[in-house]
Amino acid sequence: MSSNGNNGFFRRLSYNIGLVIIALMFVFFSLVSDFFLSIPNVLNILHHGAILGTLALGVTYIIILGEMDISFANLMSFASVLVAIFLRYGYSSLVSIVFATAISVLLGTANGFFVGYRGYSSIAVTLATSNLFLGLNYTVSKGRPIYAAMPDTFLAIGQNSIIGVPISVILLIIVSVVTYFIIHATSYGQKLYAVGSDQDSARVMGINVRLVKLVAFITASIYVAISAVISTSRLGSGQPIVGSPYFLETLAAVFFGKAISRQNVSTVIGTLTGTVVLSILFNGVTLLGLPSYIYQLVLGLVLIFAMLATIKRRTKMV
C-alpha cells in the first residue's frame, strides 16, 4: 500500500469502480427521473438484466479462456426461431426447449471443435459461423417472425412472477449461483483460468486444453439457449433478429467486468456487475426520453472509461 493516503484511497476506489459507477448512476437517474426508483421500473431493469445476464455469463466462460465468441447473438436468434417453430408444430414446451437447446449445443460444439481441437483463431471461426447461423436462421424463418399458439407454461417463463419476483429473474439468480459454483468452486473453473493465463503451461500440467475449450463453447451455447427461451417467452413469438441488439451489450457487460477486476480476468461477480450497470444505463436512457443511439454512444464511452480507470494495473503488451 502506498504511504500517501490520498493515493491509497483512489487505488481502493479503482478496485471498487463498478460499485462506484452503479451508485453514481442510481443517484443521477433517481434525481432526474421520479419514476426511476418505482417498483415497476426496477422490475423492468431486472427483466432486461435477466436475458443480458444469462448471455453474458455464458460468454464469460469463453472470455476466461482468452478466446472470443462473435456468433452467440446470431445463435440466440436462431434458437429463438427454433423454439417458436417447435411450439408451432405442437410439441410441448419442455420438448421444444430441449430440442432447441440440443441444436444450439450442436452448433456450439462446431465452434468448440474448430477452436479447441483444430487450434484456429476463435474470432475468425466465430465470425464465419455467425454468418452461417444467420443464413440458417433466414432459411428456416424466411426472415419473418414466427408466431405460434404458445402454451401458458411456456409464456409463464418470461411473463409471470412468483411473489412479485419475475420467473426470468429467479432463473437468472439460479443460473448465476450455478455459474459461480462451476467457475469458482470446481476444478473445471480452475482449469479455465489456467488455460486462459498460459495454455502451454496448462498442457504441461496435465490439463486437457482441447477438452476444456470444447466444453466451454458447449456450456456457452446452453446459456445462449436459455436466454433465447426467456426472450421468446417474453415476446410470445420467435424473432429472427432478437439476438443482434444483445451482441454489443453482452460483450460490453463481460469486458466491463473484466476491466474492473483486480487481476484483469473475467469473474462471475464482475460480469454480473457489468450486467447491472448496462441494464440501469439502458433503462435510464430510455426513461430520460433520449434517442436510442445515445445509449450506443454512452455504452462505448463507459467501456473505454472502465478500461482507463484500471490502466495502472495492466501489464505491458511487449
Binding site: Y293, G300, M307
Partner: protein
C-alpha cells in the same frame, strides 16, 4: 500422390472459387461480357479498399472490428458537410477523411499506446462511432446539395476507364511497394509474428501498430465515402456489411499467399465480387450468399491455419 493431395488441399479454396466462377461463365447467360466484367469490378472497389486497411491491421496480427462504423461515420460526415456548406465536395472529402483518420488514431491510441485488448477496444469504439454517426441526422439519410463533382468520385470516367478503378489500382500499387520493398513492410510482418522479438530488433512496435490502425481507419472511411458517392447519399447502415466481407476477403488472400498481402487481398476481392454478382444474375435468394460467404471464410481459415501448422511442423498450441 501425397504431394498432389497436399497441393490440392493448399489451393482448395482457390480451386473452389475458380470452379464457381467457371460454373457462372458456362451456365449464366450474359455472364461473359464487358458489362458484367465492369459491374464485377465496380462492385469490388469499396470492399477492396476496406480490405486493404484490414490487410495492414491483420499483418500486425491485430483485429479492427470498428471499420463498418468508421465507414458509416465518415460517409455521414462527408455528406453532412456538403449539405451544410451548400455543395462543397472538397470540404466534405477533407472532413470525411479527417474523421476517418481520427477514428483510426483513437483505435491506435487505445491499442498501441494504452495496451488495451484490440478486440475490446475496437468493439467499444465501434459502438461509439455508430452512436456519433447518428448525431448528424438522427437516423435519417443525408442527400441534399450533392453536386456532380461528388458523384464523379465513384461514377465518373477517365476516357473509357472508370476513375475510381484507376485510383484503386494506384493505391494498391503503392501499398504493394510499401509491403514488399520498404522497411515498413518488414516491420509490419515482424510485429505481427512476434512483437517482443520485433521490439528487441529495434522495430518501433507501438508506432507500427499505430500506423496500421491509422491506415485501417483511413481506408474504411474512404470506402464509406465511395459508397456515399455511388448512391449520392449517406445513411447509417452504409458500412454494415463491410466487416464480414472484408475479413472474408483478407482471409481468402491469406489462404492463397500464406500471409496478408495487398495483391492477395485484391485478387480475392475480385473473386468474392464475381461470386456475388453471379448469385444475383442466377437469381438466388439473398440470404444464401450469407451462407456461402460464411462457408468460404471458414474454409479460408481452415486452409490458412492448417498450412501454418504444416509449415511450423507442430500443431498449434501443442508442445
Amino acid at each position: 500422390m501425397k504431394r498432389l493431395m497436399a497441393f490440392l488441399f493448399k489451393n482448395s479454396i482457390l480451386l473452389i472459387v475458380l470452379a464457381v466462377v467457371l460454373y457462372f461463365c458456362l451456365r449464366v447467360p450474359g455472364f461473359l461480357s464487358i458489362t458484367t466484367l465492369k459491374n464485377i469490378l465496380m462492385n469490388s472497389i469499396a470492399i477492396s479498399i476496406i480490405a486493404l486497411g484490414l490487410t495492414f491491421v491483420l499483418s500486425v496480427n491485430k483485429w479492427d472490428v470498428s471499420i463498418g462504423s468508421t465507414a458509416s461515420l465518415s460517409a455521414m460526415t462527408t455528406c453532412y458537410l456538403i449539405q451544410v456548406s451548400g455543395g462543397s465536395t472538397f470540404l466534405g472529402l477533407v472532413g470525411g477523411l479527417a474523421v476517418a483518420l481520427l477514428c483510426g488514431f483513437l483505435n491506435g491510441l487505445l491499442v498501441a499506446k494504452l495496451h488495451f485488448e484490440d478486440i475490446v477496444a475496437t468493439i467499444a469504439t465501434q459502438s461509439l462511432f455508430f452512436g456519433l454517426a447518428f448525431l448528424y441526422a438522427g437516423g435519417y439519410e443525408i442527400y441534399k446539395n450533392m453536386r456532380p463533382s461528388f458523384r464523379f468520385i465513384f461514377n465518373g470516367n477517365l476516357g473509357v476507364v472508370p476513375f475510381v478503378l484507376v485510383l484503386t489500382v494506384v493505391i494498391y500499387t503503392i501499398a504493394d511497394i510499401f509491403f514488399r520493398k520498404k522497411k515498413i513492410g518488414r516491420w509490419l510482418y515482424s510485429t505481427g509474428n512476434n512483437p517482443r522479438a520485433a521490439l528487441f530488433s529495434a522495430v518501433p512496435v507501438e508506432r507500427v501498430i499505430m500506423i496500421a490502425y491509422l491506415l485501417s481507419g483511413l481506408f474504411a472511411g474512404f470506402a464509406g465515402i465511395l459508397g456515399a458517392s455511388e448512391h449520392g447519399r449517406a445513411w447509417i447502415l452504409l458500412g454494415q456489411g463491410y466487416l464480414l466481407t472484408g475479413y472474408c476477403v483478407v482471409f481468402l488472400g491469406i489462404s492463397i499467399f500464406e500471409k496478408p498481402t495487398p495483391f492477395g487481398t485484391l485478387l480475392s476481392a475480385f473473386f468474392i465480387s464475381t461470386i456475388r454478382t453471379g448469385f444475383v444474375m442466377e437469381n438466388v435468394i439473398y440470404y444464401l450468399s450469407d451462407i456461402v460467404i460464411g462457408l468460404l471464410l471458414l474454409g479460408a481459415v481452415v486452409v490458412s491455419n492448417e498450412k501454418k501448422i504444416v509449415h511450423q511442423n507442430y500443431k498449434v498450441g501443442e508442445l
